[in-house]
């Protein structure tokens, strides 16, 4: 597919944790040739404005994603099973980040 050779290195996905204890969220991607360069490039792109307290970079090809053609079999069967969500509980007051 790609006729033009990519000289920017491997693609890495960046995940940032905004506060200790919270889950890491996908922030974007960077190019880099190895781990050290990947974490530094990610820092320069994504954490200069107080975005987080923790960061992961993961080689994009290490991520296994659901193929778009499998969407129906993976996600649709849960559409009518609302009881799979804990939505029938009252949350205690003052509970955040549920």
């Amino acid at each position: 597919m790609s006729e033009v050779k990519d000289t920017q290195g491997q693609l890495w996905e960046v995940f940032i944790q905004s506060k200790k204890g919270l889950p890491f969220k996908h922030a974007g991607s960077v190019h880099a040739f190895d781990k050290e360069m990947a974490i530094q490039n990610a820092r320069d792109l994504y954490t200069r404005r107080g975005e987080g307290k923790g960061m992961w970079v993961v080689p994009a090809d290490a991520i296994v994603a659901v193929d778009a053609s499998d969407e129906e079999s993976f996600f649709d069967p849960s559409n009518d099973k609302i009881y799979r969500h804990p939505t029938f509980y009252e949350l205690p007051e003052g509970l955040k980040n549920m």
């Binding site: 000289t7 920017q8 290195g9 960077v30 190019h31 880099a32 050290e36 360069m37 530094q40 490039n41 820092r43 320069d44 792109l45 200069r48």
Partner: protein
């Protein structure tokens, strides 16, 4: 130590940061790839922030009604006191890396001392800058190693940059009367201590990068008296263009 001594000291340090920041800003859009381009520009922005804080303070202590902008844009070449190393051009990426790396080591040590002084402005500026510069050292150190221990071409180019820039390192640990006064007041470490620190750090990094320390013994001197290499004048022409062409322009 008198207040004007402190003003001059801040001006020297601020000038080095400003000129280094401007050189670094010239790298914007010229990085080897997008991510590094942003990283390089970020380094420049950090230095510009430090320059601004130091020049604002210098102007205030001086008490002549000048602003930081006046200092940056209305002084001729001979009234700039930045180290000659900081004005050296971005001949290629290796030159920028070596210049910025050596200055990061120097600035890190300077700010480390300043963070402890009994002066809220300076210790505040320094405490923030120490963190920024620690990253500069890490990022640029990575490039020294990567280029030095990379391909034959990158190894040769960074060794050339090191050889060419080496004669400007001596100024970083040279002392004049003002330095001695500041040292006595606890604002700076001695030249000897700075030299030992720089040599130890550079030698370790260079050796790891399979490079060698240049043997040249000649070291330039003069920037503390406003003497510069030919490059500063050209840089100021561009940097100060607006104020020179349209004095007092406002927008």
């Amino acid at each position: 130590m008198e207040i004007l001594d402190l003003s001059k000291f801040c001006m020297r340090l601020g000038d080095s940061c400003l000129i280094l920041a401007h050189r670094q800003s010239e790298m914007c859009s010229k990085g080897p790839f997008l991510e590094e381009d942003i990283a390089q520009t970020n380094l420049g922005l950090d230095l510009l922030g430090q320059a601004e804080a130091l020049l604002i303070y210098s102007a205030k202590l001086e008490g002549k009604g000048r602003t930081a902008d006046d200092l940056a844009f209305r002084r001729p070449e001979r009234e700039f006191y930045n180290f000659m190393l900081t004005e050296q051009p971005n001949t290629d990426f290796a030159f920028s890396v070596v210049r910025q790396y050596i200055m990061a080591l120097y600035l890190g040590k300077v700010y480390e001392a300043l963070a402890k002084v009994d002066d809220d402005v300076l210790s505040g500026v320094a405490a923030k800058a120490v963190k920024e510069i620690a990253y500069h050292e890490r990022h640029l150190g990575m490039w020294i190693k990567r280029l030095g221990d990379g391909t034959e071409e990158s190894h040769e180019r960074i060794q050339i940059a090191l050889n060419e820039l080496w004669m400007f390192v001596g100024e970083l640990y040279e002392e004049d009367d003002l330095d001695l006064k500041l040292q006595e007041a606890g604002y700076a470490i001695s030249g000897e201590e700075m030299k030992a620190y720089l040599m130890e750090k550079i030698t370790a990094q260079i050796t790891e990068a399979t490079l060698s320390i240049p043997e040249s013994v000649y070291m330039t001197t003069g920037s503390k008296k406003g003497i510069h290499t030919e490059y500063l004048g050209f840089m100021l022409t561009e940097m100060q263009y607006l104020q020179r062409a349209y004095p007092d322009a406002k927008w």
